[in-house]
Symmetry: C2
Subunit: 220 residues, 2 copies
Amino acid sequence: MSDVLDLPDQYDVHPVTKIVRGPKRASYDRKLVHGIIDDALICHVGTVVNGRPTMIPTAHWRVGERIYIHGASKNRILGAIAEGAEACLCITHLDGLVMARSAFHHSANYRSVVIYGKGEVVSDDAGKMEHSRLFMEKLEPGRWDTIREPNKQELKATMFLGFDLNEVSAKVRAGDPVDDDEDYSLPVWAGVLPCQNVWGTPIDDAKIDPGFVGKGKKPE
Amino acid sequence: MSDVLDLPDQYDVHPVTKIVRGPKRASYDRKLVHGIIDDALICHVGTVVNGRPTMIPTAHWRVGERIYIHGASKNRILGAIAEGAEACLCITHLDGLVMARSAFHHSANYRSVVIYGKGEVVSDDAGKMEHSRLFMEKLEPGRWDTIREPNKQELKATMFLGFDLNEVSAKVRAGDPVDDDEDYSLPVWAGVLPCQNVWGTPIDDAKIDPGFVGKGKKPE
């Protein structure tokens, strides 16, 4: 997935990606951005349709310096982006609640990436097939070889959009609350309530082939 | 938090909230929408700034038929909404990956809500104080009585925005994959890989008062 060998360690800062609020939490580090993207299964994709901001949650995957999404070819949000509407993609991991001694200094620990730009449609069937495979391989490495590939009709019904990682920034908060000096003596617990996405035991399909009962694999 | 007694069970369907893709997954059920909102700590808020779609992840809370967010008064996205820019809020719970026998029928189990509308600024200090309390009570009931309340300067530095739950819709997918009839005999595991947000052991602040060591409470 990575071909960052000849690229700068840092993304360029653009007017739209320059972080003004909480600049100490900002990062343009390429590997950090890649990690935040790859650790997530879904992103939120926003654009403007009929003059109004709109948004969908959807799965994504990354190939080098591009992030990809897919959906129904007739989806109005994907369609607007395909026709040239600007998009904004956001990926967020909530890592914990930061419980301070004052209301004001409560916060969250998180890792997020925001990407701005136009999308490019993957228009040929070979490209769509390859991206079907890449997405499937993100979900479960090796699975692609065991399932039925998309047929011509399914490829036609699916739109794939890629976005360059160019106007991109990350924001990260980690660690303890930061209270005002005079508040540290207040009689209240303070610290972090950590949280994370956890995979449960795979649930067999009700119509599973008996030979495959219990063979589901949790994502890594 | 709920005052739905005299309201219809269902939200009205508006042009912008009419779900065209996957209409069987759509819902306008008021209690379902409230539950999806209340179960989440963060939402994604999109709007248009300088002609470009943009987005932030942020915490939210609900009071009856309004959802609230807050942030730095000088935040450019909140500022644009405060000045009348349309917004779109999305709340998403990823509940699992749906592993089908064909690439095309892979999916996700999820619960999401999308809200469209303009935001209204909470402009008076009493309202800001009350919303500080309501947000804190969502994080940990009873905590408000133990922490330092926001002072005048902190209230001034914080913007609170409320959005009516009017143009709102939910989308939910649950349960097994749905494969094409002829694919059920394929030799591959199929089912759901469930996931959820899990709270870990609270982490004491490094500067914690010794009397409060180990006293952190996981959210419910």
